[in-house]
């Protein structure tokens, strides 16, 4: 294909130029592994002064909480976009059907064993976001995907029964709204938007870190709901509106 060859040539020129410029830039940078990290030298004392053991969470939910609000808004808007794009088109709704699948017993047993374990791990990662590696984003993804173990165990019909989609759509809005509301509340109480106004407690305990923990939970709710709503949009497309080859049904 001539168009493909032209594109490849264009990529060759552009990619080579980019590689050369990047290599030149890299050799003017300090070597990785050095001890010069000015942002770290400021972020770590700031996190410790708010009794937050996990400095990454402190950066996300305290020091740069404003950016996380924007990031959540990106997630919210993109889930909204996917839900709008993937909704059944006019005339497609009439063909809705719920397929029956056969699930292997071994798969069913494994999924049922891991379903509660995954939910507990997800909750643990969300709730300990200020103490150990993790937080609302990571735990939310574990929770959102963990719910789909029911799909592995019982097929699409079982998933439809345990996953009231409307609840998760509301959960997404709730998480987003709670984050923004926490910011406004901090503005009213402490005079700065998304400031850490809750008593920060003692470093290393569950009740430490003030708003980091609360914002992490809000993000966990939003991310878990967002994953469920996203996967629901794609699963509806695939399983209810056709696209599944006959052999798979």
């Amino acid at each position: 294909m001539s168009g493909g060859r032209g594109r490849l040539a264009l990529f060759g020129v552009g990619g080579a130029a980019m590689a050369v410029l990047f290599a030149l830039a890299v050799f003017a940078l300090p070597d990785p592994g050095g001890d010069q990290h000015p942002y770290r030298d400021r972020a770590v004392p700031a996190a410790v002064s708010h009794a937050t053991a996990n400095v990454v969470s402190s950066v996300n939910f305290d020091l740069r909480a404003m950016d996380t609000l924007g990031e959540e808004a990106i997630l919210f808007a993109s889930v909204l976009g996917v839900a709008a794009l993937a909704r059944p088109a006019a005339g497609e709704g009439g063909r809705r059907r719920v397929p029956r699948e056969q699930v292997l017993d071994a798969v069913r047993a494994t999924a049922l064993v891991f379903f509660p374990v995954t939910l507990v791990v997800g909750l643990d990662v969300v709730l300990h976001g200020a103490l150990t590696p993790g937080g609302g984003f990571q735990g939310g993804v574990i929770l959102g995907t963990g719910i789909h173990l029911i799909y592995m165990a019982g097929g699409y019909r079982a998933l439809l029964r345990v996953r009231p989609l409307e609840l998760f759509e509301q959960g997404e809005a709730l998480g987003m709204g709670a984050f923004a509301a926490a910011g406004v509340a901090a503005l009213l109480v402490g005079g700065s938007f998304l400031g850490n106004v809750v008593p920060t407690g003692r470093l290393g305990t569950l009740t430490s870190s003030g708003t980091v923990e609360l914002l992490s939970i809000a993000v966990g709710i939003e991310v878990a709901s967002a994953v469920v709503v996203l996967l629901a949009a794609f699963l509806t497309q695939l399983l209810e509106l056709g696209g599944v080859p006959e052999a798979d049904q």
């Binding site: 294909m1 990529f11 290599a23 770290r40 770590v44 990454v56 950016d67 976009g81 993937a86 590696p133």
Partner: protein, 116 residues
Amino acid sequence: MIRYAYLVSIAIMLIGVFGMVRARNLVSLVTCLSVAQSGSYVLLVAIGFQRGAPAPVFGSPASAPTTKVTDPLVQAMALTDVVVSATVTALLLALTIQVHRTHGTIDPDELTSLRG
């Protein structure tokens, strides 16, 4: 001399873009875009790395607070990066569904006319 960590990041990015150029299918094009984006994770984590320094997590099970840790700021930015990458992938896949619906193909070479 571990400056090659930076070069790995640009290599991953270029491999991803190469895949996008060669893609004959919008789904693999979207996948290659997320490969290209993963180069930035390597770059960010490499910038924050310090030889012999542990992760920036303190408290009773871990160590006492010290500034001799890897840079938490770039790690938080890598997390933001992952989230943005996931949302972009989801949105592009939904657009792919839409393209398939309106054009009946997801081969980018066959998507030449401005039909909608």
